[in-house]
Symmetry: C2
Subunit: 317 residues, 2 copies
Protein backbone atom coordinates (compact mmCIF):
# COMPACT_ATOMS: atom_id res chain seq x y z
CA UNK A 1 0.00 0.00 0.00
CA UNK A 2 1.45 3.38 -0.93
CA UNK A 3 1.71 5.73 2.05
CA UNK A 4 -1.41 7.83 2.63
CA UNK A 5 -1.45 11.52 3.33
CA UNK A 6 -1.58 11.15 7.07
CA UNK A 7 1.22 8.64 7.27
CA UNK A 8 3.39 10.88 5.10
CA UNK A 9 2.80 13.84 7.36
CA UNK A 10 3.40 11.83 10.49
CA UNK A 11 6.51 10.21 9.19
CA UNK A 12 8.42 13.18 7.86
CA UNK A 13 7.01 16.26 9.46
CA UNK A 14 6.32 15.23 13.03
CA UNK A 15 10.00 14.90 14.00
CA UNK A 16 10.73 18.50 14.73
CA UNK A 17 13.09 20.64 16.75
CA UNK A 18 11.84 20.27 20.32
CA UNK A 19 10.75 23.51 21.97
CA UNK A 20 9.22 23.77 25.41
CA UNK A 21 6.78 26.42 24.21
CA UNK A 22 5.09 23.96 21.81
CA UNK A 23 2.21 22.67 23.95
CA UNK A 24 0.74 20.74 21.02
CA UNK A 25 2.37 20.28 17.61
CA UNK A 26 1.63 18.41 14.40
CA UNK A 27 -1.31 15.98 14.57
CA UNK A 28 -4.29 17.85 16.04
CA UNK A 29 -6.58 20.39 14.34
CA UNK A 30 -4.20 23.20 15.26
CA UNK A 31 -1.03 23.83 17.22
CA UNK A 32 -0.95 25.32 20.73
CA UNK A 33 1.97 27.66 21.32
CA UNK A 34 3.09 29.52 24.40
CA UNK A 35 4.16 33.13 23.80
CA UNK A 36 7.07 34.53 25.80
CA UNK A 37 5.70 37.29 28.05
CA UNK A 38 6.34 40.89 27.03
CA UNK A 39 6.84 40.15 23.35
CA UNK A 40 4.70 40.57 20.27
CA UNK A 41 4.03 37.95 17.63
CA UNK A 42 5.63 38.30 14.19
CA UNK A 43 3.99 36.39 11.31
CA UNK A 44 4.97 35.99 7.66
CA UNK A 45 3.88 33.70 4.85
CA UNK A 46 5.52 33.01 1.49
CA UNK A 47 4.82 30.63 -1.36
CA UNK A 48 7.06 28.82 -3.83
CA UNK A 49 5.62 27.60 -7.13
CA UNK A 50 7.58 25.03 -9.14
CA UNK A 51 8.94 26.54 -12.35
CA UNK A 52 8.54 30.04 -10.97
CA UNK A 53 10.26 30.16 -7.59
CA UNK A 54 12.27 26.98 -7.86
CA UNK A 55 13.47 24.98 -10.86
CA UNK A 56 11.88 21.70 -11.85
CA UNK A 57 14.46 19.10 -10.95
CA UNK A 58 15.95 21.17 -8.13
CA UNK A 59 17.23 18.99 -5.29
CA UNK A 60 14.28 18.43 -2.95
CA UNK A 61 16.47 19.33 0.04
CA UNK A 62 17.11 22.78 -1.44
CA UNK A 63 13.38 23.32 -2.02
CA UNK A 64 12.70 22.46 1.64
CA UNK A 65 15.46 24.86 2.65
CA UNK A 66 14.16 27.68 0.45
CA UNK A 67 10.53 27.28 1.51
CA UNK A 68 11.50 27.98 5.11
CA UNK A 69 14.41 30.36 4.41
CA UNK A 70 12.32 32.87 2.47
CA UNK A 71 10.03 33.15 5.48
CA UNK A 72 12.78 33.29 8.08
CA UNK A 73 14.24 36.11 6.00
CA UNK A 74 11.00 38.04 6.51
CA UNK A 75 11.32 37.53 10.27
CA UNK A 76 14.97 38.63 10.10
CA UNK A 77 13.85 41.81 8.34
CA UNK A 78 11.60 42.56 11.35
CA UNK A 79 14.35 41.96 13.90
CA UNK A 80 12.43 38.95 15.21
CA UNK A 81 13.51 35.71 16.81
CA UNK A 82 11.96 32.81 14.91
CA UNK A 83 10.08 30.17 16.86
CA UNK A 84 7.56 28.10 14.88
CA UNK A 85 6.56 27.24 11.32
CA UNK A 86 3.57 25.71 9.52
CA UNK A 87 3.91 23.99 6.17
CA UNK A 88 1.44 23.54 3.33
CA UNK A 89 2.74 21.09 0.77
CA UNK A 90 0.91 20.49 -2.51
CA UNK A 91 2.60 17.74 -4.54
CA UNK A 92 1.43 15.79 -7.58
CA UNK A 93 2.01 12.36 -6.03
CA UNK A 94 3.03 10.84 -2.75
CA UNK A 95 6.65 10.57 -3.87
CA UNK A 96 8.13 9.37 -0.63
CA UNK A 97 11.75 9.94 -1.60
CA UNK A 98 11.08 13.54 -2.63
CA UNK A 99 9.12 14.25 0.54
CA UNK A 100 11.85 12.73 2.73
CA UNK A 101 14.54 14.86 1.08
CA UNK A 102 12.35 17.97 1.15
CA UNK A 103 11.73 17.41 4.87
CA UNK A 104 15.47 16.90 5.45
CA UNK A 105 16.23 20.31 3.92
CA UNK A 106 13.49 22.03 5.86
CA UNK A 107 14.33 20.38 9.19
CA UNK A 108 18.04 21.13 8.80
CA UNK A 109 17.42 24.87 8.51
CA UNK A 110 14.70 24.78 11.18
CA UNK A 111 17.00 22.99 13.59
CA UNK A 112 19.83 25.44 12.93
CA UNK A 113 17.60 28.32 14.03
CA UNK A 114 15.66 26.49 16.74
CA UNK A 115 12.41 26.60 14.78
CA UNK A 116 9.77 23.92 15.48
CA UNK A 117 7.48 22.75 12.67
CA UNK A 118 4.12 22.71 14.45
CA UNK A 119 1.52 22.09 11.78
CA UNK A 120 0.73 21.64 8.17
CA UNK A 121 -1.36 20.29 5.38
CA UNK A 122 -0.31 17.89 2.64
CA UNK A 123 -2.49 17.75 -0.46
CA UNK A 124 -2.30 16.35 -3.94
CA UNK A 125 -1.91 19.07 -6.55
CA UNK A 126 0.66 21.02 -8.52
CA UNK A 127 3.96 21.49 -6.69
CA UNK A 128 3.23 24.61 -4.62
CA UNK A 129 4.69 25.12 -1.16
CA UNK A 130 3.63 27.66 1.42
CA UNK A 131 5.30 28.17 4.77
CA UNK A 132 4.10 30.44 7.52
CA UNK A 133 6.83 31.45 9.95
CA UNK A 134 6.06 32.76 13.42
CA UNK A 135 8.44 34.51 15.76
CA UNK A 136 8.55 37.13 18.46
CA UNK A 137 10.12 40.51 19.03
CA UNK A 138 10.27 43.06 21.83
CA UNK A 139 7.58 45.69 21.23
CA UNK A 140 9.20 48.89 20.06
CA UNK A 141 12.30 47.14 18.69
CA UNK A 142 10.66 45.71 15.57
CA UNK A 143 12.17 46.80 12.25
CA UNK A 144 9.66 48.33 9.89
CA UNK A 145 9.97 49.76 6.39
CA UNK A 146 8.54 53.11 7.20
CA UNK A 147 11.05 54.69 9.59
CA UNK A 148 13.84 55.86 7.28
CA UNK A 149 14.78 59.54 7.72
CA UNK A 150 16.70 61.93 5.48
CA UNK A 151 20.35 61.76 6.48
CA UNK A 152 20.25 58.08 7.43
CA UNK A 153 23.02 55.88 6.04
CA UNK A 154 21.80 53.17 3.65
CA UNK A 155 23.30 49.68 4.04
CA UNK A 156 23.03 46.29 2.45
CA UNK A 157 24.31 43.10 4.08
CA UNK A 158 26.64 40.51 2.60
CA UNK A 159 26.82 39.78 -1.12
CA UNK A 160 23.59 40.45 -2.97
CA UNK A 161 23.49 39.16 -6.54
CA UNK A 162 25.24 35.83 -5.97
CA UNK A 163 21.99 33.88 -5.96
CA UNK A 164 20.78 35.58 -9.15
CA UNK A 165 24.06 34.70 -10.84
CA UNK A 166 23.70 31.11 -9.63
CA UNK A 167 20.14 30.94 -10.91
CA UNK A 168 21.27 32.27 -14.29
CA UNK A 169 23.93 29.56 -14.48
CA UNK A 170 21.35 26.88 -13.70
CA UNK A 171 18.98 28.42 -16.24
CA UNK A 172 21.64 28.08 -18.94
CA UNK A 173 22.09 24.38 -18.21
CA UNK A 174 24.66 24.20 -15.42
CA UNK A 175 24.19 21.17 -13.15
CA UNK A 176 22.92 21.46 -9.56
CA UNK A 177 26.52 21.38 -8.38
CA UNK A 178 27.03 22.53 -4.81
CA UNK A 179 30.76 22.91 -5.44
CA UNK A 180 29.86 25.97 -7.54
CA UNK A 181 29.62 28.76 -4.93
CA UNK A 182 27.03 30.74 -6.92
CA UNK A 183 24.77 27.72 -7.49
CA UNK A 184 25.16 26.81 -3.84
CA UNK A 185 24.27 30.37 -2.79
CA UNK A 186 21.10 30.22 -4.88
CA UNK A 187 20.00 26.85 -3.52
CA UNK A 188 20.99 27.35 0.11
CA UNK A 189 21.06 31.07 0.86
CA UNK A 190 20.97 31.76 4.59
CA UNK A 191 18.45 34.15 6.12
CA UNK A 192 20.17 36.95 8.08
CA UNK A 193 18.58 36.27 11.43
CA UNK A 194 21.55 37.26 13.61
CA UNK A 195 21.94 40.54 11.73
CA UNK A 196 18.20 41.23 12.05
CA UNK A 197 18.46 40.79 15.82
CA UNK A 198 21.49 43.08 15.92
CA UNK A 199 19.56 45.73 13.97
CA UNK A 200 16.49 45.60 16.23
CA UNK A 201 16.26 48.95 17.97
CA UNK A 202 19.22 50.30 15.96
CA UNK A 203 18.05 50.56 12.34
CA UNK A 204 15.36 53.12 11.47
CA UNK A 205 14.02 50.92 8.65
CA UNK A 206 14.78 47.48 7.25
CA UNK A 207 13.50 44.95 4.73
CA UNK A 208 14.87 41.88 3.08
CA UNK A 209 15.86 42.03 -0.58
CA UNK A 210 13.37 39.67 -2.19
CA UNK A 211 12.41 41.45 -5.42
CA UNK A 212 15.79 43.04 -6.18
CA UNK A 213 17.74 45.72 -4.35
CA UNK A 214 16.63 48.56 -6.61
CA UNK A 215 12.91 47.78 -6.51
CA UNK A 216 12.94 47.00 -2.80
CA UNK A 217 14.77 50.23 -2.04
CA UNK A 218 12.00 52.02 -3.92
CA UNK A 219 9.44 50.32 -1.66
CA UNK A 220 11.35 51.25 1.49
CA UNK A 221 11.46 54.87 0.33
CA UNK A 222 7.75 54.90 -0.52
CA UNK A 223 6.82 53.41 2.87
CA UNK A 224 9.01 55.93 4.70
CA UNK A 225 8.05 58.93 2.55
CA UNK A 226 11.67 59.64 1.61
CA UNK A 227 14.09 59.38 -1.33
CA UNK A 228 17.37 57.51 -1.58
CA UNK A 229 20.72 58.01 -3.24
CA UNK A 230 22.26 54.73 -4.37
CA UNK A 231 26.01 54.80 -5.09
CA UNK A 232 26.55 52.21 -7.83
CA UNK A 233 30.33 52.22 -7.20
CA UNK A 234 29.78 51.13 -3.63
CA UNK A 235 27.68 48.04 -4.42
CA UNK A 236 29.47 45.05 -2.88
CA UNK A 237 30.86 42.53 -5.36
CA UNK A 238 31.98 39.25 -3.81
CA UNK A 239 35.00 37.42 -5.15
CA UNK A 240 32.69 34.66 -6.44
CA UNK A 241 30.67 37.25 -8.32
CA UNK A 242 33.75 39.12 -9.56
CA UNK A 243 34.92 35.94 -11.31
CA UNK A 244 31.82 35.84 -13.51
CA UNK A 245 30.26 38.02 -16.19
CA UNK A 246 30.82 41.62 -17.11
CA UNK A 247 30.38 44.70 -14.91
CA UNK A 248 26.93 45.07 -16.45
CA UNK A 249 26.05 41.45 -15.58
CA UNK A 250 27.20 41.90 -11.99
CA UNK A 251 25.26 45.10 -11.58
CA UNK A 252 22.17 43.45 -13.02
CA UNK A 253 22.47 40.55 -10.55
CA UNK A 254 23.01 42.89 -7.61
CA UNK A 255 20.25 45.37 -8.53
CA UNK A 256 17.57 42.91 -9.68
CA UNK A 257 18.39 39.59 -8.01
CA UNK A 258 16.32 38.54 -5.07
CA UNK A 259 17.17 35.13 -3.64
CA UNK A 260 20.10 36.04 -1.39
CA UNK A 261 18.02 37.01 1.67
CA UNK A 262 20.25 40.01 2.25
CA UNK A 263 18.91 42.89 4.37
CA UNK A 264 18.56 46.47 3.19
CA UNK A 265 18.46 48.92 6.11
CA UNK A 266 19.04 52.44 7.30
CA UNK A 267 20.89 53.74 10.36
CA UNK A 268 21.04 57.34 11.61
CA UNK A 269 24.36 58.84 10.47
CA UNK A 270 25.56 59.75 13.99
CA UNK A 271 25.11 56.10 15.08
CA UNK A 272 26.62 54.51 11.98
CA UNK A 273 30.24 54.16 13.12
CA UNK A 274 29.29 52.64 16.46
CA UNK A 275 26.83 50.33 14.72
CA UNK A 276 29.50 49.06 12.31
CA UNK A 277 31.85 48.46 15.22
CA UNK A 278 29.29 46.20 16.93
CA UNK A 279 29.04 44.07 13.80
CA UNK A 280 32.75 43.74 13.11
CA UNK A 281 33.01 40.11 14.12
CA UNK A 282 29.90 38.86 12.34
CA UNK A 283 28.22 39.62 9.02
CA UNK A 284 29.70 42.16 6.58
CA UNK A 285 27.59 45.21 5.76
CA UNK A 286 28.27 47.86 3.12
CA UNK A 287 27.30 51.54 2.98
CA UNK A 288 25.68 51.91 -0.42
CA UNK A 289 24.06 55.34 -0.19
CA UNK A 290 21.94 57.61 1.93
CA UNK A 291 18.37 58.61 2.58
CA UNK A 292 17.31 62.04 1.30
CA UNK A 293 14.21 64.18 1.38
CA UNK A 294 11.83 63.70 -1.55
CA UNK A 295 10.74 60.54 -3.30
CA UNK A 296 12.23 57.87 -5.55
CA UNK A 297 15.69 56.40 -5.95
CA UNK A 298 18.52 58.11 -7.86
CA UNK A 299 21.55 56.09 -8.86
CA UNK A 300 24.97 57.74 -8.94
CA UNK A 301 28.16 56.55 -10.65
CA UNK A 302 31.29 58.48 -9.65
CA UNK A 303 28.99 61.21 -8.39
CA UNK A 304 27.08 61.51 -11.66
CA UNK A 305 23.42 60.56 -11.81
CA UNK A 306 22.68 57.64 -14.12
CA UNK A 307 19.38 56.33 -15.33
CA UNK A 308 18.85 52.69 -14.34
CA UNK A 309 15.90 50.81 -15.81
CA UNK A 310 13.43 48.56 -14.09
CA UNK A 311 12.03 48.35 -10.62
CA UNK A 312 12.39 44.74 -9.55
CA UNK A 313 10.66 41.48 -9.88
CA UNK A 314 6.88 41.44 -10.28
CA UNK A 315 5.21 38.06 -10.52
CA UNK A 316 2.56 39.46 -12.85
CA UNK A 317 4.74 41.80 -14.92
Amino acid sequence: MPPGEFELIERYFSRSTPRRDVLLGVGDDAALLEMPPGRVLVAATDTLVEGRHFLPGAPAESVGHQALAVNLSDLAAMGAEPAWALLSLSIPSADEDWVRRFADGLHALAGHHGVALVGGDTVRGPRVITVTALGTVEPGLALRRDGAQPGDVLYVSGSPGEAAAGLERLGSGAPFDLADPLVRRYLYAEPRLALGRALAGRATAAMDVSDGLLGDLGKLCAASGVAARLDLDRLPVSSALAAHGTLADRERWVLYGGDDYELLFTVPAPAAMAFEATLRSSVPVTRIGAIEAGSGVRCLRRGVEERVEGSGYDHFA
Copy 2:
Protein backbone atom coordinates in the same frame (compact mmCIF):
# COMPACT_ATOMS: atom_id res chain seq x y z
CA MET B 1 -1.17 48.67 -17.58
CA PRO B 2 -2.53 45.50 -15.97
CA PRO B 3 -2.34 45.64 -12.20
CA GLY B 4 0.93 44.29 -10.80
CA GLU B 5 1.21 41.89 -7.92
CA PHE B 6 1.73 44.54 -5.31
CA GLU B 7 -1.13 46.72 -6.44
CA LEU B 8 -3.45 43.71 -6.41
CA ILE B 9 -2.46 42.87 -2.88
CA GLU B 10 -2.79 46.42 -1.70
CA ARG B 11 -6.10 47.00 -3.37
CA TYR B 12 -8.03 43.94 -2.28
CA PHE B 13 -6.31 42.57 0.75
CA SER B 14 -5.28 45.61 2.73
CA ARG B 15 -8.83 46.62 3.66
CA SER B 16 -9.31 44.34 6.61
CA THR B 17 -11.32 44.07 9.78
CA PRO B 18 -9.72 46.59 12.11
CA ARG B 19 -8.32 45.12 15.33
CA ARG B 20 -6.41 47.08 17.94
CA ASP B 21 -4.00 44.17 18.45
CA VAL B 22 -2.70 44.45 14.87
CA LEU B 23 0.35 46.67 15.35
CA LEU B 24 1.40 46.23 11.73
CA GLY B 25 -0.62 44.47 9.03
CA VAL B 26 -0.33 43.83 5.29
CA GLY B 27 2.51 45.68 3.54
CA ASP B 28 5.71 45.07 5.52
CA ASP B 29 7.90 41.95 5.59
CA ALA B 30 5.76 40.47 8.36
CA ALA B 31 2.84 41.37 10.62
CA LEU B 32 3.24 42.47 14.24
CA LEU B 33 0.49 41.16 16.51
CA GLU B 34 -0.19 41.74 20.18
CA MET B 35 -1.18 38.65 22.14
CA PRO B 36 -3.79 38.97 24.89
CA PRO B 37 -2.05 38.22 28.21
CA GLY B 38 -2.67 34.84 29.79
CA ARG B 39 -3.61 33.06 26.58
CA VAL B 40 -1.82 30.69 24.27
CA LEU B 41 -1.54 31.00 20.51
CA VAL B 42 -3.50 28.58 18.29
CA ALA B 43 -2.27 28.14 14.70
CA ALA B 44 -3.67 26.15 11.78
CA THR B 45 -2.99 26.06 8.05
CA ASP B 46 -5.02 24.51 5.23
CA THR B 47 -4.74 24.48 1.48
CA LEU B 48 -7.33 24.40 -1.31
CA VAL B 49 -6.33 23.16 -4.77
CA GLU B 50 -8.60 23.92 -7.73
CA GLY B 51 -10.24 20.79 -9.05
CA ARG B 52 -9.55 18.96 -5.82
CA HIS B 53 -10.89 21.10 -2.97
CA PHE B 54 -13.04 23.44 -4.99
CA LEU B 55 -14.64 23.10 -8.40
CA PRO B 56 -13.29 24.93 -11.45
CA GLY B 57 -15.88 27.61 -12.12
CA ALA B 58 -16.96 27.87 -8.48
CA PRO B 59 -17.99 31.42 -7.56
CA ALA B 60 -14.82 33.22 -6.48
CA GLU B 61 -16.63 34.53 -3.38
CA SER B 62 -17.28 30.97 -2.24
CA VAL B 63 -13.63 30.04 -2.75
CA GLY B 64 -12.59 33.00 -0.60
CA HIS B 65 -15.11 31.92 2.03
CA GLN B 66 -13.95 28.30 2.00
CA ALA B 67 -10.24 29.14 2.14
CA LEU B 68 -10.76 30.94 5.45
CA ALA B 69 -13.63 28.79 6.76
CA VAL B 70 -11.68 25.54 6.65
CA ASN B 71 -9.05 27.15 8.86
CA LEU B 72 -11.49 28.82 11.24
CA SER B 73 -13.07 25.38 11.62
CA ASP B 74 -9.71 24.09 12.88
CA LEU B 75 -9.63 26.90 15.44
CA ALA B 76 -13.22 26.09 16.44
CA ALA B 77 -12.17 22.48 17.01
CA MET B 78 -9.58 23.74 19.51
CA GLY B 79 -12.06 25.95 21.40
CA ALA B 80 -10.12 29.01 20.25
CA GLU B 81 -11.15 32.57 19.51
CA PRO B 82 -9.93 33.51 16.03
CA ALA B 83 -7.94 36.71 15.61
CA TRP B 84 -5.75 36.92 12.51
CA ALA B 85 -5.19 35.26 9.14
CA LEU B 86 -2.50 35.17 6.47
CA LEU B 87 -3.27 34.37 2.85
CA SER B 88 -1.16 32.81 0.13
CA LEU B 89 -2.84 33.10 -3.24
CA SER B 90 -1.41 31.41 -6.33
CA ILE B 91 -3.43 32.28 -9.44
CA PRO B 92 -2.69 31.79 -13.13
CA SER B 93 -3.22 35.43 -14.08
CA ALA B 94 -3.93 38.75 -12.45
CA ASP B 95 -7.68 38.37 -13.07
CA GLU B 96 -8.84 41.42 -11.20
CA ASP B 97 -12.52 40.51 -11.16
CA TRP B 98 -11.81 37.05 -9.72
CA VAL B 99 -9.48 38.48 -7.09
CA ARG B 100 -12.01 41.13 -6.08
CA ARG B 101 -14.77 38.57 -5.66
CA PHE B 102 -12.46 36.12 -3.88
CA ALA B 103 -11.46 38.92 -1.48
CA ASP B 104 -15.13 39.83 -0.93
CA GLY B 105 -15.91 36.27 0.16
CA LEU B 106 -12.91 36.08 2.42
CA HIS B 107 -13.43 39.51 4.00
CA ALA B 108 -17.14 38.82 4.61
CA LEU B 109 -16.38 35.74 6.70
CA ALA B 110 -13.40 37.40 8.37
CA GLY B 111 -15.49 40.41 9.31
CA HIS B 112 -18.26 38.23 10.70
CA HIS B 113 -15.82 36.63 13.12
CA GLY B 114 -13.66 39.69 13.79
CA VAL B 115 -10.64 38.22 12.01
CA ALA B 116 -8.05 40.61 10.54
CA LEU B 117 -6.14 39.63 7.40
CA VAL B 118 -2.61 40.65 8.37
CA GLY B 119 -0.35 39.33 5.64
CA GLY B 120 0.02 37.32 2.52
CA ASP B 121 1.72 36.50 -0.69
CA THR B 122 0.26 36.64 -4.20
CA VAL B 123 2.07 34.68 -6.89
CA ARG B 124 1.45 33.52 -10.42
CA GLY B 125 0.88 29.78 -10.63
CA PRO B 126 -1.81 27.13 -10.59
CA ARG B 127 -4.85 28.08 -8.52
CA VAL B 128 -3.78 26.97 -5.04
CA ILE B 129 -4.82 28.85 -1.91
CA THR B 130 -3.37 28.51 1.56
CA VAL B 131 -4.65 30.33 4.61
CA THR B 132 -3.04 30.29 8.03
CA ALA B 133 -5.45 31.18 10.83
CA LEU B 134 -4.23 32.36 14.22
CA GLY B 135 -6.27 32.62 17.38
CA THR B 136 -5.97 32.34 21.12
CA VAL B 137 -7.33 30.14 23.90
CA GLU B 138 -7.06 29.99 27.67
CA PRO B 139 -4.34 27.48 28.58
CA GLY B 140 -5.97 24.35 29.92
CA LEU B 141 -9.27 24.93 28.12
CA ALA B 142 -8.05 23.97 24.64
CA LEU B 143 -9.88 21.08 22.98
CA ARG B 144 -7.60 18.29 21.88
CA ARG B 145 -8.24 14.98 20.16
CA ASP B 146 -6.58 12.86 22.78
CA GLY B 147 -8.73 13.28 25.88
CA ALA B 148 -11.73 11.01 25.19
CA GLN B 149 -12.45 8.48 27.98
CA PRO B 150 -14.51 5.29 28.03
CA GLY B 151 -18.04 6.20 29.09
CA ASP B 152 -17.98 9.64 27.42
CA VAL B 153 -20.97 10.55 25.27
CA LEU B 154 -20.14 11.06 21.58
CA TYR B 155 -21.71 14.05 19.83
CA VAL B 156 -21.77 15.63 16.42
CA SER B 157 -22.98 19.17 15.76
CA GLY B 158 -25.56 20.33 13.22
CA SER B 159 -26.20 18.50 9.96
CA PRO B 160 -23.17 16.68 8.63
CA GLY B 161 -23.53 15.38 5.08
CA GLU B 162 -25.33 18.36 3.57
CA ALA B 163 -22.18 19.75 1.98
CA ALA B 164 -21.27 16.35 0.52
CA ALA B 165 -24.75 16.07 -0.96
CA GLY B 166 -24.41 19.59 -2.39
CA LEU B 167 -21.03 18.76 -3.88
CA GLU B 168 -22.46 15.61 -5.47
CA ARG B 169 -25.23 17.67 -7.05
CA LEU B 170 -22.70 20.13 -8.46
CA GLY B 171 -20.58 17.22 -9.69
CA SER B 172 -23.54 15.86 -11.64
CA GLY B 173 -24.06 19.17 -13.40
CA ALA B 174 -26.29 21.22 -11.10
CA PRO B 175 -25.68 24.97 -11.37
CA PHE B 176 -24.02 27.00 -8.61
CA ASP B 177 -27.47 27.96 -7.35
CA LEU B 178 -27.52 29.39 -3.84
CA ALA B 179 -31.29 28.83 -3.65
CA ASP B 180 -30.49 25.11 -3.39
CA PRO B 181 -29.84 24.63 0.34
CA LEU B 182 -27.41 21.74 -0.19
CA VAL B 183 -25.37 23.61 -2.81
CA ARG B 184 -25.37 26.64 -0.56
CA ARG B 185 -24.24 24.55 2.39
CA TYR B 186 -21.32 23.20 0.36
CA LEU B 187 -20.23 26.62 -0.89
CA TYR B 188 -20.78 28.60 2.30
CA ALA B 189 -20.60 26.23 5.26
CA GLU B 190 -20.07 28.09 8.53
CA PRO B 191 -17.31 27.13 10.93
CA ARG B 192 -18.67 26.29 14.41
CA LEU B 193 -16.75 28.91 16.34
CA ALA B 194 -19.42 29.65 18.96
CA LEU B 195 -19.87 25.95 19.68
CA GLY B 196 -16.12 25.48 19.95
CA ARG B 197 -15.94 28.24 22.56
CA ALA B 198 -18.84 26.66 24.45
CA LEU B 199 -17.06 23.30 24.42
CA ALA B 200 -13.75 24.71 25.72
CA GLY B 201 -13.20 23.24 29.16
CA ARG B 202 -16.31 21.04 28.84
CA ALA B 203 -15.53 18.49 26.11
CA THR B 204 -12.87 15.86 26.79
CA ALA B 205 -11.95 15.69 23.09
CA ALA B 206 -13.00 17.48 19.91
CA MET B 207 -12.11 17.75 16.24
CA ASP B 208 -13.77 19.10 13.15
CA VAL B 209 -15.17 16.68 10.59
CA SER B 210 -12.96 17.34 7.59
CA ASP B 211 -12.31 13.89 6.17
CA GLY B 212 -15.67 12.29 6.98
CA LEU B 213 -17.30 11.49 10.30
CA LEU B 214 -16.33 7.83 10.28
CA GLY B 215 -12.67 8.34 9.44
CA ASP B 216 -12.31 11.33 11.75
CA LEU B 217 -13.91 9.41 14.61
CA GLY B 218 -11.29 6.71 14.01
CA LYS B 219 -8.58 9.36 14.35
CA LEU B 220 -10.07 10.74 17.55
CA CYS B 221 -10.17 7.22 19.00
CA ALA B 222 -6.59 6.50 17.96
CA ALA B 223 -5.35 9.78 19.47
CA SER B 224 -7.22 9.10 22.73
CA GLY B 225 -6.37 5.38 22.91
CA VAL B 226 -10.04 4.39 23.06
CA ALA B 227 -12.77 2.79 20.93
CA ALA B 228 -16.14 4.19 19.91
CA ARG B 229 -19.62 2.88 19.33
CA LEU B 230 -21.43 4.74 16.55
CA ASP B 231 -25.23 4.36 16.46
CA LEU B 232 -26.17 4.64 12.78
CA ASP B 233 -29.86 5.17 13.67
CA ARG B 234 -28.95 8.27 15.63
CA LEU B 235 -27.08 10.07 12.84
CA PRO B 236 -28.80 13.40 12.30
CA VAL B 237 -30.56 13.82 8.96
CA SER B 238 -31.63 17.38 8.18
CA SER B 239 -34.86 18.07 6.32
CA ALA B 240 -32.84 19.26 3.31
CA LEU B 241 -30.93 15.99 3.33
CA ALA B 242 -34.03 13.87 3.92
CA ALA B 243 -35.53 15.22 0.69
CA HIS B 244 -32.69 13.79 -1.40
CA GLY B 245 -31.36 10.33 -2.21
CA THR B 246 -31.86 7.00 -0.55
CA LEU B 247 -31.04 6.04 3.03
CA ALA B 248 -27.76 4.63 1.72
CA ASP B 249 -26.96 7.94 -0.04
CA ARG B 250 -27.69 9.92 3.11
CA GLU B 251 -25.58 7.64 5.25
CA ARG B 252 -22.74 7.88 2.76
CA TRP B 253 -22.89 11.70 2.80
CA VAL B 254 -23.00 11.80 6.60
CA LEU B 255 -20.27 9.21 7.18
CA TYR B 256 -17.84 10.24 4.44
CA GLY B 257 -18.60 13.88 3.68
CA GLY B 258 -16.26 16.50 5.01
CA ASP B 259 -17.07 20.07 4.01
CA ASP B 260 -19.71 20.95 6.62
CA TYR B 261 -17.26 22.05 9.34
CA GLU B 262 -19.28 20.21 11.95
CA LEU B 263 -17.60 19.31 15.23
CA LEU B 264 -17.24 15.79 16.60
CA PHE B 265 -16.71 15.76 20.36
CA THR B 266 -17.01 13.85 23.59
CA VAL B 267 -18.45 14.90 26.94
CA PRO B 268 -18.31 12.93 30.22
CA ALA B 269 -21.68 11.18 30.69
CA PRO B 270 -22.44 12.77 34.07
CA ALA B 271 -22.03 16.24 32.53
CA ALA B 272 -23.92 15.54 29.30
CA MET B 273 -27.41 16.68 30.38
CA ALA B 274 -26.16 19.96 31.83
CA PHE B 275 -24.00 20.51 28.75
CA GLU B 276 -26.97 20.06 26.40
CA ALA B 277 -29.01 22.49 28.50
CA THR B 278 -26.37 25.21 28.07
CA LEU B 279 -26.58 24.84 24.29
CA ARG B 280 -30.36 24.76 23.95
CA SER B 281 -30.64 28.21 22.41
CA SER B 282 -27.81 27.92 19.93
CA VAL B 283 -26.45 25.15 17.72
CA PRO B 284 -28.09 21.70 17.69
CA VAL B 285 -25.98 18.75 18.75
CA THR B 286 -26.83 15.05 18.52
CA ARG B 287 -25.71 12.11 20.64
CA ILE B 288 -24.49 9.57 18.11
CA GLY B 289 -22.73 7.03 20.31
CA ALA B 290 -20.30 6.55 23.12
CA ILE B 291 -16.64 6.05 23.87
CA GLU B 292 -15.59 2.56 24.97
CA ALA B 293 -12.42 0.85 26.06
CA GLY B 294 -10.40 -0.74 23.27
CA SER B 295 -9.65 0.52 19.79
CA GLY B 296 -11.47 1.19 16.54
CA VAL B 297 -15.01 2.20 15.68
CA ARG B 298 -17.93 -0.23 15.64
CA CYS B 299 -21.17 0.79 13.93
CA LEU B 300 -24.50 -0.39 15.32
CA ARG B 301 -27.88 -0.43 13.60
CA ARG B 302 -30.80 -1.17 15.93
CA GLY B 303 -28.28 -2.55 18.37
CA VAL B 304 -26.72 -4.95 15.89
CA GLU B 305 -23.14 -4.45 14.74
CA GLU B 306 -22.80 -3.72 11.05
CA ARG B 307 -19.70 -3.62 8.91
CA VAL B 308 -19.21 -0.18 7.28
CA GLU B 309 -16.55 0.20 4.63
CA GLY B 310 -13.97 2.90 4.24
CA SER B 311 -12.24 5.22 6.61
CA GLY B 312 -12.56 8.71 5.17
CA TYR B 313 -11.01 10.90 2.59
CA ASP B 314 -7.33 10.51 1.84
CA HIS B 315 -5.83 12.89 -0.70
CA PHE B 316 -3.41 10.22 -1.85
CA ALA B 317 -5.73 7.17 -1.70
